[in-house]
């Protein structure tokens, strides 16, 4: 029995496909076991019944805006939570997929559910969420059960990392990264890791060691964090999917905080704001930039 929100999502998807507003609707469908939800791609209006909505719709579907097997359908309609849409905004700003070819079906989201057997770090975003109603939508699916006011917790819970000494931080992260098996699930699931050839795959010269040993793991996880500084919208997907439970989002949160303090900028808030790393001013106060 579909919920009211599911029914609205299905009706919206059907209209979009029937009118030709988009060639595909990327949404959530029932997973392979009862606890799972998986991405689905609907091209036939008769299939909209496959779409589901619940608090296990974890995936950030903006990921698919850059995938050839999805782009082939032309205009792409994507169902998204607020945090997912923030990633789509960054993709538009970075010219990875045109705004005008994206149809955003935003859904009010009250936060995702914990996952049995996984650390809760990936849900840190929900405690401080101020995009329960997506910031940009072409079609808004309201959920009366969700209070869309921003979360009252202004600051993220202190993860205790800032107060550590450099040596303690190094020991903490080396220990975390020691479990990295270099499966690159963090990269695979990240909407903003869209490079055709990732720096770890550039081997003339080999910038980043590919072996999953201490040094190789340290290089990989830090270079990925740096490449997401000022870009990461903290959807937490990297942390959710890591088979070794490395709290990767903590690195991204730290760097996002540095960018916010230095440039008063948060990624994916608005399509109109100039991203801090895509802007250049001739009268910049810093010498090195001129």
């Amino acid at each position: 029995m579909a919920s009211e929100v599911e029914q609205r999502i299905r009706d919206t998807a059907r209209k979009i496909l029937e009118s030709g507003e988009a060639g595909v609707v990327v949404g959530y469908g029932a997973g392979s076991t009862p606890d799972k939800v998986m991405p689905v791609f609907i091209t036939n209006p008769a299939d909209v019944e496959k779409l589901v909505w619940n608090d296990r719709c974890y995936n950030n579907l903006s990921l698919y805006l850059t995938k050839p097997l999805v782009r082939k359908f032309g205009k792409v309609a994507m169902i998204g939570k607020g945090c997912d849409i923030r990633a789509a905004i960054v993709l538009w700003q970075e010219s990875q997929f045109p705004r005008e070819k994206t149809i955003v079906i935003g859904v009010d989201c009250g936060g995702v559910a914990p996952i049995a057997g996984k650390p809760d770090d990936f849900r840190a975003k929900c405690a401080t969420c101020d995009v329960k109603r997506p910031p940009v939508c072409d079609h808004l699916v309201e959920n009366p059960a969700v209070d869309v006011k921003p979360a009252t917790t202004a600051e993220a819970k202190d993860d205790g990392l800032d107060s550590k000494s450099p040596a303690e931080k190094r020991a903490y992260w080396f220990n975390q990264f020691s479990r990295c098996i270099k499966c690159y699930a963090c990269r695979g699931v990240c909407p903003l890791c869209y490079c055709d050839r990732c720096i770890v795959e550039k081997n003339r010269p080999q910038w980043i060691l590919t072996s999953p040993h201490d040094l190789g793991n340290f290089e990989w996880n830090l270079v990925r964090a740096f490449h997401l500084a000022g870009r990461c919208v903290q959807c937490g997907e990297c942390t959710r999917v890591c088979p070794s439970d490395i709290p990767l989002a903590a690195l991204n949160r730290k760097l996002a905080g540095v960018v916010r303090e230095s440039f008063d900028y948060e990624a994916g808030r608005s399509h109109e704001t100039e991203p801090s790393f895509l802007s250049f001013k001739e009268d910049d106060a810093e010498e090195f930039i001129r």
Binding site: T33, A185, V189, E201, T210, R240, V241, P243
Partner: protein, 338 residues
């Protein structure tokens, strides 16, 4: 061989005695929410309450990274030496039957046209103590691929938890019999309440028969279904790296300060875009549906054709851990039933 029994306390003593005699014991250990096999210093570190480990225990014989050649620049040349495998006597304790049976697939591969000495040295020195499943997980489908929660395949000793207390214990190979003889005093007569494989497999939710998928898969090699199933694949290597029978590796030469290098053998995955990328720039598997098709075909068509066994033991890790829940059971079942 004869079924015996062992109590939980005696089992710990057996493992501690082996550790004390210098045997490396890989056992499930809990770290945060993770349970994985790793070498333990005492039976006290062992996690006894787990359905299956997050990663498969294949790293006991096929580590995620290992050095196979070492070299250094010398005056006027390069000196190269073989690395030797770090392979002392070892026990893999509490491998689930799916993971133990996967070792037979790895054995076939690493002894195919050439024996991989690194793999085989570890494998020869390894005694596998399997731990039967009495409480299968939602993701499990060993019975669908010809396995069983009580399968002895790949185990040298199989332990079966019994309701009364302790374990039924059976030596499955000479290696296992020797281990049990060595600790004979710890074993008693067979318990009366050994569960049946049918009883436990009956609890599994995923039972479609996937053992003869080859013909149907081969017939649909060029079918649009591959694009449909692989559209959501994000091209990571999570499935392959947590899989007990995926065995692909990449060879890389790494610089070591100063003026030295090491050649490494690292896990690799056919779902990576660079896996088949040629130096010329040509890629015979240029898109994700072809890469994912290879993953399925290799497990259910090419490997059975070459070695007579499936390269999937139904542990269900790939579907459960996949970032987008791309589940090989569902994919193969859909094709088998079509």
């Amino acid at each position: 061989m004869e079924m015996k029994s062992i109590s939980g306390e005696s089992l710990k003593k057996l493992l501690d005695a082996e550790i004390k005699s210098g045997v490396k014991v890989f056992a499930p250990v809990r770290e945060g929410q993770l349970v994985n096999h790793r070498p333990v210093q005492s039976s006290g570190e062992i996690c006894w309450d787990f359905k299956n480990t997050r990663l498969s225990p294949k790293h006991a014989v096929f580590p995620r990274s290992e050095t196979i050649i070492k070299g250094a620049r010398t005056d006027g040349g390069v000196q190269i030496e073989d690395a030797e495998p770090d392979a002392g006597p070892a026990i893999l304790f509490a491998a689930r039957p799916c993971d133990a049976s996967s070792l037979t697939a790895l054995d076939a591969l690493f002894n195919w046209d050439y024996t991989d000495k690194f793999y085989q040295a570890r494998r020869d020195a390894l005694c596998v103590i399997g731990m039967a499943c009495v409480d299968p997980a939602e993701q499990c489908f060993c019975a669908a691929v010809g396995g069983s929660p009580l399968s002895e395949k790949g185990s040298d000793v199989l332990l079966i938890p019994v309701k009364s207390s302790g374990y039924a214990a059976k030596a499955c190979t000479d290696k296992g019999a020797k281990l049990m003889e060595k600790h004979a005093a710890m074993f008693g007569p067979a318990p009366a309440d050994i569960p049946s494989a049918e009883e436990i497999a009956g609890k599994q939710l995923r039972k479609k028969d996937l053992t003869n998928a080859k013909a149907k898969l081969d017939a649909r090699f060029d079918d649009p279904i591959w694009e449909a199933v692989a559209r959501k694949c994000v091209g990571c290597g999570c499935c392959a790296f947590i899989c007990p029978s995926c065995h692909c590796f990449d060879i890389v030469d790494e610089p070591i300060p100063v003026e030295r290098f090491e050649r490494k053998k690292n896990w690799d995955s056919c779902c990576f875009g660079t896996y088949t990328l040629h130096a010329s720039g040509h890629n015979p598997r240029p898109s994700q549906e072809r890469r994912y098709r290879n993953r399925v075909m290799h497990k259910f068509s090419y490997f059975p054709e070459r070695f007579g066994i499936l390269k999937c033991s139904g542990c269900g890790r790939c579907g459960a851990q996949c970032p987008v829940n791309l589940d090989i059971y569902d994919v193969v079942a859909e094709i088998v039933e079509s």
